[in-house]
């Protein structure tokens, strides 16, 4: 210590200490700021660093029939998903995953497209992976960063096609769904009901998704599957109990003529509860679970049969002769006719009206008939005249009042409103004022012309006839509170109409459809169809004295309804527990709707018949 003076050294020691103190203090303050003041910010970052959110899809509620039998349920399925990463990285991961999960180029592009829309959510690669694939992936887990496999409830419809249009289908939420949906809980990628009951009762059926957190390391490998952080359990949706009789529904599906287009609706006349609702051709709703394959989707859409269409509520057909009961009811209600009323001109195979000749379906003619007989024989000439007697205005008025220009209000999505004139002005618009004649009344009277009804709407008419004359809105889950319409017929009039309809099956146009000693009332129809062969209708109910079921069926291009009436009577018989083994599947029935009117030139204008534009209503 020769040359360094102690005093100078002490100064330097103090300065050095001060420097150390300053440095340590500055660092200490920096740490204090980071650790204490900004703690919450960094803690959040740290958590989000290591935790990735994985959605636990909630099981959808079960759909059962009226007896609790399962129509739609959930079965465990495996999903394979990748945690979100930037897109190029995701492509690499998909590429490396592709050979194990059998993904093609197109599949990868499709997945990336979907990922592009929801870049912050896990990308579900396989939504219904076979167990072998899942176990193979799990074995090679180390090769696949960000891989998450989990069991997820998978929608399953045990009866598949038989209940297809009833349950509808489920699918991923689209942007349109999000825009139109009341609930804000929906996110892209969620599963919602797209059609049928799944859509109508989506809010009830859809549970609330849970969430779980998996822990990942810096390179994205999932290091801890469970218990990384408290998640949220998925809450299952509520069970929806429908009015469907699954047994009957299955039966309908089994007896419906294969490869034919059409629909069958069965309901309880006293309540409007739908017992069966079937449309053909069907589709496989299970194929839509977890994303429909593009091939199947293309096939469904390209098919000329339009399998996705629910022909019970989403298709309109001219009601044909089934409409005659509506005309008869109007006439009875307004006192224009009774069951015994005969028309002025007996049926000689047709009716000359103005310069046109309107034919009856039976060219040989029915002769003079009462209303009861006319219904049984479905005589067109009789109803032409009844229609004229009723008058166009009354006909349209009652048609509107009874809901033939509206929807039934059934709790199914996509129901079409029936087409029916709103008033005589309708024809002014259609043809121009004074460019149409009362000929439209003739067409309307036999269920042709400007009249297109859904099967369900026509079944509703027969439900009214089969009960006390009041309508019950058809429903599958919840009956509506709204009061139905009333035909305004007294019990005698109703009984008369029923007797006429019993005669249809006993000795009228549907003779061959009788089953045992079951008293079935009903009405056939062959509605003309400009696109091809006529559509066949049959709507009936039984037992006729105390109807327990109304069944309506329409089969496109059935020609003469040959298969329709036996189908309906078999369904009724099955429901009522009658023996159907001896019943025939097909019976040649007469085409009971007149061919299109033919113009007979030079014929004198008809003056014997005039359209009494308004018939007096019953006080």
């Amino acid at each position: 210590m020769s040359r360094l003076s102690p005093y100078q050294q002490d100064v330097r020691v103090r300065a050095a200490r001060l420097l150390v103190w300053t440095a340590i203090t500055i660092i200490g303050v920096a740490y204090f700021r980071t650790q204490i003041l900004d703690h919450s910010k960094y803690e959040l970052q740290s958590e989000s660093n290591r935790l990735r959110q994985v959605t636990l899809p909630a099981p959808r509620g079960v759909i059962t029939d009226r007896h609790g039998k399962i129509i739609a349920e959930n079965v465990p399925g495996y999903t394979v998903a990748l945690l979100p990463v930037p897109e190029p990285e995701m492509r690499r991961r998909l590429d490396s995953l592709a050979p194990f999960v059998h993904l093609g180029r197109a599949d990868i592009d499709r997945l990336l497209q979907r990922f592009h829309r929801t870049p912050y959510q896990s990308l579900v690669v396989l939504s219904d992976a076979p167990f072998e694939v899942v176990s193979a992936l799990e074995e090679r887990r180390i090769q696949f960063p960000g891989l998450v496999t989990q069991t997820e409830p998978k929608r399953h419809y045990p009866d598949s096609t038989a209940v297809a249009h009833l349950v509808g289908l489920v699918g991923e939420v689209t942007d349109q769904d999000l825009a139109g949906h009341r609930s804000t809980m929906l996110r892209l990628g969620d599963l919602i009901g797209k059609d049928g009951l799944e859509r109508a009762y989506d809010d009830t059926l859809r549970g609330s998704d849970g969430v779980r957190y998996v822990e990942v390391n810096a390179v994205g490998y999932v290091v801890r599957e469970a218990g990384a952080a408290p998640g949220l359990l998925a809450e299952s949706g509520d069970t929806v109990r429908t009015t469907i009789d699954l047994d009957l529904q299955r039966y309908v599906a089994s007896v419906f003529p294969p490869n034919m287009r059409g629909a069958v609706v069965a309901l309880e006349p006293s309540t409007g509860a739908i017992l069966a609702l079937y449309s053909s051709p069907g589709y496989n709703p299970n194929a839509f679970v977890g994303g429909v394959s593009p091939e199947y989707w293309r096939a469904l859409n390209a098919s000329p049969d339009h399998p996705l269409l629910d022909r019970a509520v989403q298709a309109r057909y001219p009601p044909g002769s089934t409409w005659k009961l509506a005309i008869a009811s109007m006439a009875l209600k307004r006192g224009v006719a009774t069951m015994r009323t005969r028309m002025l001109i007996p049926c000689r195979g047709g009716l000359q009206y103005g310069d046109r000749f309107f034919r009856c379906w039976n060219a040989e003619g029915h002769g003079s008939l009462t209303l009861e007989q006319a219904i049984a024989q479905s005589c067109d000439v009789y109803f032409y005249q009844l229609g004229l007697k009723l008058g166009l205005t009354s006909l349209i008025e009652d048609g509107n009042a009874w809901g033939f220009r509206a929807k039934t209000g059934v709790d199914l999505p996509g129901e079409l409103a029936a087409i029916f004139p709103s008033g005589p002005e309708y024809f002014d618009r259609l043809y121009g004022a004074r460019h149409w004649t009362s000929a439209v009344t003739l067409n309307l009277a036999i269920g042709q012309g400007e009249n297109s009804q859904t099967l369900l709407n026509m079944v509703r008419l027969y439900q009214m006839l089969a009960s006390d004359g009041r309508s019950r809105t058809p429903y599958l889950v919840h009956p509506t509170e709204e009061p139905g319409v009333d035909l305004g017929l007294n019990p005698q009039q109703l009984a008369g109409l029923r007797q006429a309809m019993i005669n249809v099956v006993e000795r009228g146009t549907a003779r061959g459809a009788r089953i045992g000693d079951l008293k079935i009332a009903g009405k056939t129809a062959t509605s003309q169809n400009p696109q091809g062969p006529s559509h066949g209708w049959f709507i009936g109910f039984a037992p006729a004295e105390q109807p327990a079921i109304v069944v309506g069926a329409v089969i496109e291009f059935a020609r003469h309804g040959s298969t329709v009436a036996p189908l309906v009577t078999r369904v009724i018989a099955h429901y009522l527990g009658a023996d159907t083994t001896m019943a025939r599947y097909e019976y040649r029935l007469p085409a009971d709707t007149a061919p299109r009117e033919t113009r007979v030139l030079g014929a004198p204008p008809g003056d014997s018949l005039t359209d009494s534009t308004r018939a007096p209503a019953i006080p």
Partner: protein, 399 residues
């Protein structure tokens, strides 16, 4: 005092286990530590006289090995792209760490031999050269962090020798000029300030001119020099200014480090329970970024304890330097303190973005044999010095 060192070493030994529970690195670190303590005990037995005699050879060997490293060095798999490792059969090490000690010894020897503190810039040329040789060799590796440590050693020892702070500033002025050259206005102000400083300090005229010239040259070459820097060095400096700019690559270290530290809170997530660390979000968590683990797992409390211990160590070293019986020992110990101080400030500071990221280990904490042994040797020397001064019975001090 001895107990204090021992405690610190044991403490640090306990802490080195922290980051590496996952791997078996901590066992190897334990071996290194044992080796380090052995070295410390051995060097403790060595008289400073012997050390002083051996200094030129040690220095020569260090420079030679650094040269070897430059030509035959390997990245050793840890720090890709650098040549800071040298392997002799199975024995591998980072000679730069030992070179730091060698520079301390060499400077101590030169400064101790002089009677007067270096007062002129010309007299500073020789110590500057002593430092510059390893400095350049290390920069060429390239290892900017270690290079900065050499500068810190030089400055701390010159200061201890009694060089006026103004003179040190003049010595440092070219570097400051280099940094400030990125903004023309600031650089201009700096040149004016420097001119005033030169008038005040009154060095020889040509010295003053040399300083001015050096500064101007630095200002001119700054941008070319910047372009000459390796991209990763550029990025590190840029990331220091704004870590969020590129969060995936360069800023990643800083962000993750801050997240780890910040999520620690008052008392941390608990020993070995740091999630950032466990899930490998922290880069180089067992070496350069070891301190964030302290912050994450033990919280602010752990940080304060660690900082306090470091401060105590530095104070003790300063006191030892103060009481040393001979100048060589005194310079040695103060140089060691300067070295450790540079390491601590740089390492701990970069974890919270106070300092730019340079791969520089934290004394006693970071995994790495070379530096641990270097530190152990440094402590060994200090202990010897302390022991000698105590043996002299605190002749001229009482405290």
């Amino acid at each position: 005092m001895l107990a204090g060192y021992g405690l610190l070493i044991v403490y640090s030994a306990g802490r080195t286990d922290v980051p590496t529970i996952v791997a078996t690195i901590w066992l190897r670190q334990l071996i290194w530590l044992t080796l380090g303590i052995t070295c410390a005990i051995l060097i403790f037995r060595v008289s400073p006289r012997l050390l002083e005699w051996a200094t030129p050879y040690v220095y020569g060997i260090a420079i030679f090995v650094l040269l070897l490293t430059l030509f035959f060095g390997t990245g050793a798999g840890t720090a890709a792209g650098t040549h800071s490792w040298i392997g002799i059969s199975k024995l591998r090490g980072q000679p730069a760490e030992f070179a730091k000690l060698a520079v301390i010894l060499m400077l101590a020897r030169w400064l101790a031999e002089r009677r007067e503190p270096p007062a002129t810039l010309r007299e500073l040329v020789y110590p500057g050269a002593i430092t510059l040789a390893p400095f350049l060799l290390v920069v060429l590796q390239p290892d900017l962090g270690s290079a900065i440590v050499f500068v810190a050693i030089l400055f701390s020892m010159l200061y201890w020798a009694g060089t006026k702070p103004g003179m040190l500033l003049l010595l440092a002025s070219p570097v400051i000029g280099l940094i400030l050259a990125f903004s023309t206005a600031v650089w201009g102000a700096w040149i004016v300030l420097l001119f005033v400083l030169l008038l005040w300090l009154r060095p020889y005229v040509w010295e003053g001119l040399a300083v001015m010239l050096a500064n101007i040259v630095m200002g001119v070459i700054a941008l070319p020099f910047w372009r000459h820097l390796a991209p990763y060095q550029q990025n590190r400096l840029l990331a220091f200014l704004n870590p969020e700019a590129d969060p995936r690559s360069t800023g990643w270290h800083i962000i993750q480090s801050k997240v780890a530290i910040g999520s620690g809170g008052w008392f941390g997530k608990g020993f070995t329970h740091g999630t950032q660390k466990r899930l490998a979000f922290l880069p180089a968590q067992h070496t350069d970024f070891i301190f964030p683990i302290v912050g994450e797992e033990l919280g602010f409390a752990g940080v304060v304890v660690a900082l306090t211990l470091f401060a105590m160590l530095l104070f003790v070293l300063i006191r030892v330097a103060r009481r040393a019986t001979d100048t060589f020992s005194s310079f040695c110990v103060f140089g060691i303190a300067g070295m450790l101080f540079a390491h601590i400030v740089e390492n701990v500071g970069m974890a919270v973005n106070l300092m730019p990221v340079t791969g520089i280990p934290l004394p006693f904490f970071s995994y790495g044999g070379s530096f641990l042994i270097t530190c152990a040797l440094a402590i060994g020397i200090s202990l010897r010095v302390a022991w000698e001064s105590r043996a002299h019975g605190y002749a001229d001090h009482s405290q």
